[in-house]
Amino acid sequence: MPSVDAGAAPAGEAEATADAESTTARKGGFEVRLANFTGPFDLLLGLIAKHKLDVTELALATVTDEFIKYIRRLQELGEGWALDEASEFLVIAATLLDLKAARLLPAGEVEDEEDVALLEARDLLFARLLQYKAFKQLAAHLGETLENEAQRFPRQVALEPHFAALLPELIWRHSPEQFAAVAAKALEPKDTTPPEVGVDHLHGAPVSIKEQAEILGFRLQFGRPLSFRALVADAESTLVVVVRFLALLEMFRDRVVAFEQPAPLSELTVRWTGRPEGWSSENLSEEYETVAAPATQRETDPEEHANE
């Protein structure tokens, strides 16, 4: 089903390929007509179909070049191509490239671990591709059925007045102010669901900026100026070093510490400048409070910063 209602297309996928098509028309020379692929599997299936290959055949290398050429083209087009999509494409391109490279090697020698891993990667790719193919076929069926069904119009007429009159009188207890509150809540943007980013592969222990600021504050407030090196001497991991540095920046913004560094890359000395009492890490700038306020959120914050 190449004809896709572009008007209703959700952002991302359709836009990227729409751009791609127009560019192809302009530049020419690129043999693959950039159809409206909905993802890497779709593209892969498209290329396999074009070469009349069976998905189950070991001829994927034939389409690898084209696949990678296509990715490169998409990359050149740049904008409108979402990061997560790009990475999916690249993961598959990398797998294909591996497989293609493996085919250039003498056959029949599956001995070392790398070869086994490659075979597993191939099986994984095949399996995912087959699964996707199945759902794509079912999607076509859904599309046809929905289209056929749209030919029928259900009877859903308004209730005849004498029946409507039978309905019990509506109970309405909302004052205009309460109603406005309902409206404000209903009109609040709900689109706060963050895209699901997998963090399973991250194993950093939870480190909180406030917690580290508390430690730093305690050491500086009741002692002499300390070098950054000394302040992080007991840090058990790089993550703690990073978080302590961020905490210092926060404290600097709150004007409770000052820095001294005689020359670039030389020793950084930190000095307490705040009043001796009345400071606590709870007073850190609001920006961090909003990020770190909920107890559950706090744990993941340092990780996020560490990632950046």
Binding site: R155, Q156, F179, A183, L187, P189, D191
Partner: protein, 221 residues
């Protein structure tokens, strides 16, 4: 007589379909919400008003249970009457205020009334209340837009609000062609306010409204 030729052409096209022009007319009558005049029906079906009037009369008799041979049936043997039955149906075709619509037969109003009342509550659901709020503050607004704002499909809820007289149709969107809805004077009455201007402003609850507005426009379907 181009009208006549058009009508014949229309009849021919419809005649090839199962049930012919009569069934086409029935199909329309069965799903339209607002009564339609014979002129409107004729225009939509590509038939002359005379032909539509005849078909309408045939359907009316048919639903009322006259048989093909009963008195009052046209003798011209038009295909419209070929399928007429002998027992009245549970519905009837009525011409009300210049428009035709299919209604349930009054003999069964007690049964139908009982069915309609079953499961009806006197209170609006939270979903209905929120939808009402969005319509009141964003009117005139299409269902698609309310759906986008609320993040769920609101078709049946809007129908309930219309049925309850709190919301009414307000023309169509010139761009998308979709129906627009607005609040009714009954809504104002229930809120105890004289006009929409008396609705409390949203700004205190909702800072940065402008940005949100854009956001929803971009997301529009």
């Amino acid at each position: 007589m181009s009208d006549y030729e058009d009508a014949v052409a229309g009849l021919a096209a419809l005649g090839e379909r199962p049930g012919g022009a009569r069934a086409a007319l029935e199909a329309v009558l069965m799903v339209i919400d607002q009564p339609a005049s014979s002129e409107e029906l004729a225009a939509g079906l590509g038939l002359t008003v005379a032909v539509v009037d005849e078909l309408l009369a045939g359907l009316q008799r048919d639903y009322n249970g006259y048989t093909v041979n009963a008195p009052g049936t046209d003798a011209d043997g038009s295909p419209a009457d070929a399928g007429a039955s002998s027992a009245p149906r549970g519905f009837e075709l009525r011409n009300v205020a210049g428009g035709w619509r299919i209604y349930s037969r009054p003999e069964f109003s007690d049964v139908v009334g009982k069915f309609v009342l079953d499961g009806q509550t006197a209170r609006l659901t939270q979903a209905a209340l929120e939808t009402m709020a969005v319509i009141a503050y964003r009117q005139p607004v299409s269902r698609a837009r309310v759906s986008a704002i609320r993040g769920v499909n609101v078709d049946s809820v809007v129908r309930t609000l219309v049925q309850r007289g709190l919301v009414e149709e307000a023309g169509t969107d010139p761009e998308s062609g979709s129906l627009l809805y607005r609040s009714t004077s009954y809504f104002l009455e229930r809120m105890g306010i004289a006009s929409l201007e008396e609705l409390p402003p949203l700004s205190p609850h909702l800072p940065g409204l402008e940005g949100i507005e854009e956001f929803f426009d971009a997301e529009r379907m």
